[in-house]
Subunit: 358 residues, 2 copies
């Protein structure tokens, strides 16, 4: 045993009397080694509690059997579930997953740097800014496998993800079909524009005018941000009767705002969320939302990454795998109610309060 207390091939070799490479071969089940020798060696390995040294293996094979997984945050249960699935899938294939979160481009760069140091064989990434991915393209150009977990077109990268644009279009269309004409939206504008783009597209297609005031970008990613965003939307007084929230977290935050301000959902305010998290399903008023199949997404992403990793030659042309999102209609969305609430005393008082804070 070496001084670190770890058993090595050499230990097994001396114990069994075979050479180290015979041991190596035997442990990997090579038929070039006699069955007898394989048995003896396997037993010795078990006795000595042998665990292969992945570093040594990586060094010679130039493969670490490790991939990096980089997500923006684990606050949102949906991507978190995907992350869990990704790890499971990689694990089944004998890969370890180094993980990191990054909420700024700088952190993202630092994490990727860390991954490279650790010699990961590939990268699964949900980038902070979906619109600036030049650094990822550069990695790919150097033949480094990268799979982006966003269903975005024309990235020059391998991408697997839900068709956010289409799903958001569908969600908005659902509200329009119900008869809503003044729909507010809560979601990112610059970093991750797909959902709001889909929201806009639905207005265009259905000939509904859209004012920029109808869109608010919440500050941060949390229910509190959704709560504040809702307050801001209402303060803009365009008479909204429905909300498209780019995430259930925003939607649920907005729902609590409604409760605090005497606005009933869905009678006076319809809300459609995105991600279909369990918290929305079991909310006091269950939340209409866009379901995406995280398990399928994870499986597809991992499969693509493995293809890229197992490709010895130059990487093939990037592939886009767009998965469908499914709108699940629940209690929070309905036809616009008769009762208007934008001019109730409660709402008036509330707006006064907002103005006072500014």
């Amino acid at each position: 045993m070496s001084r670190t207390g770890k058993t090595t091939l050499a230990d097994i070799a001396t114990k069994t009397g075979y050479g180290t490479n015979t041991v190596s071969l035997a442990l990997r089940g090579s038929t070039r080694i006699s069955q007898e020798a394989r048995d003896i060696i396997a037993k010795a390995a078990a006795d000595l509690d042998y665990v292969p040294n992945n570093s040594a293996k990586s060094l010679v094979l130039k493969k670490s059997h490790t991939v990096g997984m980089l997500v923006e945050y684990l606050t949102n249960p949906q991507p978190t579930a995907v992350a869990t699935e990704l790890q499971r899938e990689m694990s089944e294939r004998g890969y370890g997953v180094l993980f990191a979160t990054s909420s700024t481009p700088e952190q993202e760069t630092a994490a990727i740097e860390m991954f490279r140091r650790h010699g990961v064989d590939g990268l699964l990434i949900y980038p902070v800014d979906h619109t600036s991915i030049e650094h990822l393209r550069k990695l790919r150009a150097r033949n480094f496998p990268v799979v982006m977990l966003v269903g975005m077109r024309d990235t020059g990268l391998d991408a697997v993800g839900v068709d956010e644009f289409q799903a958001s279009y569908d969600a908005t269309t659902h509200l329009i079909a119900l008869g809503h004409t003044k729909i507010g939206a809560l979601g990112p504008l610059v970093d991750k524009p797909l959902k709001i783009d889909g929201f806009r597209h639905a207005h265009r297609v259905h000939g509904l005018p859209l004012d920029e005031r109808q869109i608010v970008e919440p500050v941060g990613f949390s229910m509190g941000a959704g709560y504040d965003g809702m307050r801001e939307l209402v303060a803009r007084e365009f008479g909204l009767t429905a909300l498209f929230a780019s995430s259930d977290m925003y939607g649920l935050g907005a729902m609590r705002w409604a409760k605090d301000n005497g606005v009933s959902v869905p009678e006076q305010l319809s809300i459609v969320g995105y991600d279909n998290i369990e918290f929305g399903e079991f909310s006091h008023t269950s939340l209409t939302s866009v379901r995406n199949d995280g398990a399928t997404l994870a499986k597809a992403a991992v499969e693509r990454l493995m293809q890229l990793i197992d490709c010895d030659a130059k990487l093939p042309a990037p592939t886009l795998n767009l998965l469908p999102g499914e709108l699940i209609i629940r209690e929070s969305s309905a036809r616009p109610g008769a009762r208007s609430w934008v001019n109730t005393d409660q709402a008036q008082a509330n707006r006064a309060q907002i103005s006072a804070k500014k």
Copy 2:
């Protein structure tokens, strides 16, 4: 450049005309190398986009600068937030985090095996079964650093975590102090007994009789499981007016059950959760819950792990770091209301339905 396309020390050496070890030393900022040489070498490294090979380094240093992080699942936002913090803390110290989830002891064993293969320097673990941790003790006995993320006494392991027993005692005491005498509980009994133990302890201390029927172990970890557990508790007909849920997810599931069955919270049913997740805070009826400071927990756990890793000699005696939980009282808990609901028509109908299903 080696054929994998990665720059090595040797590449920098040939480019600059220095020897490889001079380069190695220079890159690590050794003063044994002239300032001039260091500058030249640093520039060359940057030009060639040099990234150190961690495998090679690990091999010679016998340190992978990687730790394993094993959690049961990332469904619950609270431990998930802790996991994120743990990664951040380790990252700041230059460590990579290999992560895995395990929901069965077998998966746990497999994950630990995987970690060992990858030569992790230590392990942060939230074990599946808090009562059978012999395998972790064995690791420690072999001088392998393990920090358990559970505030449990007498484990023979290093442990950092919230004092779940005390916090659960406090939460239950809060309900008792409000005047509740028939309190149901939703939580794990065997695997993770601390919270229910605290619940029991509160009954003992305050001289309140407790029937085993008052405790239900939900099947699985989800809001749905809490919902079903609540239904089961009510079906047992001991006249409960309050619920202690070992997790906000259970508590929120139970709250939705109450809504579906015309039981108002807190007038007819008080609910206290655990974990203080944002979903509880922004719930229609905000949830009284036990707050634990995930950031502090993560910091303390990482600090302890680093101590163990940096200790060349035999590992010091295990340490227990119990952090306090703080009860945050919100809308979901109140004095028992005048209106009884256990015998309302609604409840009767509901119970009939439950019986029919069996």
